[in-house]
């Protein structure tokens, strides 16, 4: 059979290789290295804080937070889950993973919220941002691991950079959406009273978009968690590494415990951040919806049972 490749062959792989190796790396390596500095700094602070914090203090603290935001059930779950994680010997790894995720989410918020606001205020910006977000969300994360390694090396920080790229789109999208969906008559009213753009943003748009932005933050957090194992491929530590090495050595036990740690952490963080947005009554879909619905079904049961004797 004749195929187009018999006549013309496109050496795309060579092109990309030479672009990254001969152009990006030699010319921009220092710039890329410099980009790591703030991440390294933030990570170091968060990481050393969580490793310094005694397990019991952390557990009690997070349980209380869960109680205040998401209610009794989630608080109880948090308490049990954290004790369980400690008992299966993964406390340190969990703290490492948590620091990594919080650092990623921190940078996603710092980059994503302003970018979302900007795209909401200018159609032209959105026109540029939207296709980039589409590409970011369609490229499988494995694909950009290699250029990241070439540009940033291996280790925790490159892992976080990969996580940021992967988890950034929802917070931008939902910030943009939240602000654009603020009722037009409220914008008009704010304008009619002589608000400046900043006052409009601060007094009206952000407060009214807060729920949607929180939903975006929740999705970003969940995406960051789902990158934990992949980030371990390029040298990030924590629970991801436990799973990864477990798989590599066919140590099913280690891989499973690592996996359970990730799931438990994910449920706790999801429930808490979800309830922050939900406080004012908004439901958002997330990766862990099925898990959550399982969990809330259990809670409803418990409620029914405790209701009977009363």
């Amino acid at each position: 059979m004749i195929s187009p490749a018999d006549f013309v062959q496109i050496p795309l792989d060579d092109w990309v290789n030479s672009f990254v190796r001969d152009f990006l790396v030699p010319n921009f390596r220092p710039a890329f290295r410099a980009m790591q500095v703030p991440i390294t700094e933030v990570l170091a602070r968060i990481d050393s804080f969580f490793h310094w914090l005694p397990m019991l203090v952390f557990t009690v603290g997070l349980t209380l937070i869960a109680d205040r935001t998401a209610g009794r059930g989630v608080a109880l779950f948090t308490l049990v889950a954290l004790i369980f994680i400690d008992m299966i010997g993964l406390w340190a790894e969990t703290m490492t993973t948590l620091s990594m995720i919080l650092t990623s989410v921190f940078f996603c918020a710092v980059i994503g919220i302003p970018l979302g606001i900007w795209s909401a205020r200018s159609d032209r910006v959105l026109l540029v941002v939207r296709p980039i977000l589409d590409i970011m969300q369609t490229i499988p994360s494995f694909v950009y691991l290699v250029p990241i390694v070439m540009l940033f090396g291996v280790g925790m920080v490159p892992g976080i950079i990969a996580t940021i790229i992967f988890a950034l789109p929802p917070i931008i999208r939902l910030t943009n959406l939240g602000i654009r969906n603020v009722r037009a008559d409220l914008i008009e009213a704010a304008e009619a009273f002589g608000s400046t753009r900043w006052q409009m943003l601060w007094e009206v748009q952000l407060p009214l978009a807060l729920r949607t932005i929180m939903a975006g933050l929740n999705q970003t957090l969940m995406l960051a968690l789902s990158m934990v194992v992949i980030a371990a491929l390029i040298g990030a530590g924590g629970l991801g590494l436990t799973v990864y090495t477990g798989l590599g050595r066919l140590n099913v036990g280690a891989a499973t415990t690592g996996g359970i740690g990730i799931v438990l952490l994910a449920i706790i963080l999801d429930r808490i951040t979800q309830s922050l947005g939900e406080k004012k009554g908004v439901q958002t879909p997330s990766l862990w919806q099925s898990l959550r619905s399982l969990f809330s079904a259990g809670k409803a049961d418990a409620g029914a049972q405790s209701g009977k004797p009363a």
């Binding site: 409220l186 009213a189 009273f193 002589g194 009214l208």
Partner: protein, 428 residues
């Protein structure tokens, strides 16, 4: 006096090519033709008018006639395609963004059809919004917000959220928010449009009451002609983006500019539009204690073709004598004392009484006395004048008194009639 707002040749065209549509419009094409040919929507065309300080100017028109578009050009929410909008000396259409913001903060506020209250702020915070934007301190903001809420009777709800209030209450908050910065001009875009009729009536009265105290310059948008007639010192009727008629309620009802306006006013309650002052005639009176008053009264009635006459005592209404009774008394008894035949229980109204409140007074069949605040007789309303005004016959028409005089003269005075029926009623 210099007008507070002066609007000159304002056009607003929505679409990509407003200038082209503007030229087409000026060359005489209609709104529909322009839309079909160019796809541009004419929002407002060639609107000019003036509003004096403290006046309520009402713009009335059907849905899509361009009212909202027009009113939004006054505070720059929609920039006009061409034309001038002068508020005092500032042209809102061409001033800088900075200047426009200052005008919005200090001079002109807006009340919206669907209230547009900020759902995340309390009622007091909503009301204080304009003050916050201006940079006032929290304490004085709160104080002024409470004062504004007091004016609309909602001080007790200061710390509720708007969502907890009924529609009528929410619009009171909207009004308080508009008033809190003490603006000179208030724009109201169908502010009562979303309220049910009863609440609506209440709010209209409240607005009129507030306006008596506050004396703002108000541009009020409505699609309800009754509301327009009730509130407007001046009313503009808008159709397809242009003013088809501007005038007082009475002018519009009495002399509709074209069939479109005529169709509107056809089933209007004229009794609410016109007031006693529109049908009043100069009084013909006699002094009660004058010498020969009775003869003079008879003579005056003959001269002026009246069948009743008011008797005054030092300019105050003393009573009324009818020709018939006076003539009978004079002929048969030769008496000339007016007091003997005078009816003292006479209908008395003031200048501003709407005609529909005169029905009761008119039913007695006597002319109605119009007095000023101190009770002095300033005019007399003939019953026929009331009904001819209500029925819409040109008010200039002089009614023929001759026939009616005899007819009326032969009927017993209403007071007697009333007593008769009352007496007739008791035995049953």
């Amino acid at each position: 006096m210099k007008p507070k707002i002066r609007v000159e040749g304002v056009y607003k065209i929505f679409g990509e090519d407003p200038k082209g549509a503007l030229d087409a419009l000026k060359s005489g094409k209609s709104k529909i033709e322009i839309f079909e040919e160019t796809g541009q929507t004419v929002g407002v065309q060639d609107v000019s008018f003036e509003v004096g300080e403290g006046e309520i100017f009402v713009v009335m028109g059907l849905s899509g006639s361009g009212k909202s578009t027009l009113v939004r050009t006054f505070n720059g929410l929609i920039p006009p395609t061409s034309g001038k909008i002068l508020i005092d000396d500032d042209d809102v259409a061409s001033c800088s963004a900075e200047r426009l913001r200052k005008i919005r903060r200090e001079k002109i506020t807006m009340v919206f059809q669907h209230f547009a209250l900020f759902p995340h702020k309390t009622v007091a915070e909503n009301v204080a919004y304009g003050l916050k934007i201006k940079g006032e301190g929290a304490a004085s903001r709160r104080k002024k917000a409470l004062a504004a809420l007091e004016q609309v009777g909602l001080a007790a709800y200061a710390d509720s959220l708007p969502g907890e209030l009924s529609g009528g209450m929410q619009q009171r908050v909207g009004l308080a928010r508009g008033l809190a910065t003490d603006p000179q001009v208030l724009l109201m875009d169908e502010p009562f449009g979303a309220l049910d009729p009863l609440i609506r009536r209440e709010m209209q009265d409240e607005l009129l009451h507030l306006q008596k105290i506050l004396k703002k310059t108000i541009i009020f948008i409505t699609h309800d002609l009754n509301e327009a007639l009730l509130l407007g010192d001046k009313i503009a009727i808008m159709k397809d983006g242009r003013f088809v008629q501007v005038g007082t309620a009475q002018e519009i009802v009495d002399n509709p500019a074209d069939d479109y306006v005529a169709a509107f006013v056809a089933d209007i309650d004229r009794g609410r539009v016109f007031e006693a002052s529109h049908v009043v005639a100069d009084p013909v009176t006699v002094e009660q204690h004058e010498k020969g008053a009775a003869e003079k009264a008879l003579q005056l009635m003959e001269e002026h073709n009246r069948n009743a006459l008011y008797v005054v005592d030092d300019q105050k209404v003393a009573g009324l004598v009818t020709y018939q009774e006076l003539a009978v008394a004079a002929r048969e008894e030769g008496r000339t004392d007016l007091a003997e035949v005078m009816v003292t229980d006479v209908p008395v109204v003031d200048q501003d009484t709407p005609l529909n409140e005169l029905y009761g007074a008119a039913s007695a069949g006597h002319p109605i006395a119009v007095t000023d605040k101190r009770g002095r007789l300033t005019g007399v309303i003939e019953v026929e004048a009331v009904f001819s005004q209500l029925s819409g016959d040109a008010s200039e028409d002089e009614y023929e008194d001759e026939d009616e005089a005899t007819e009326d003269g032969s009927t017993p005075p209403a007071e007697e009639k009333a007593t008769d029926t009352a007496q007739g009623g008791t035995p049953r």
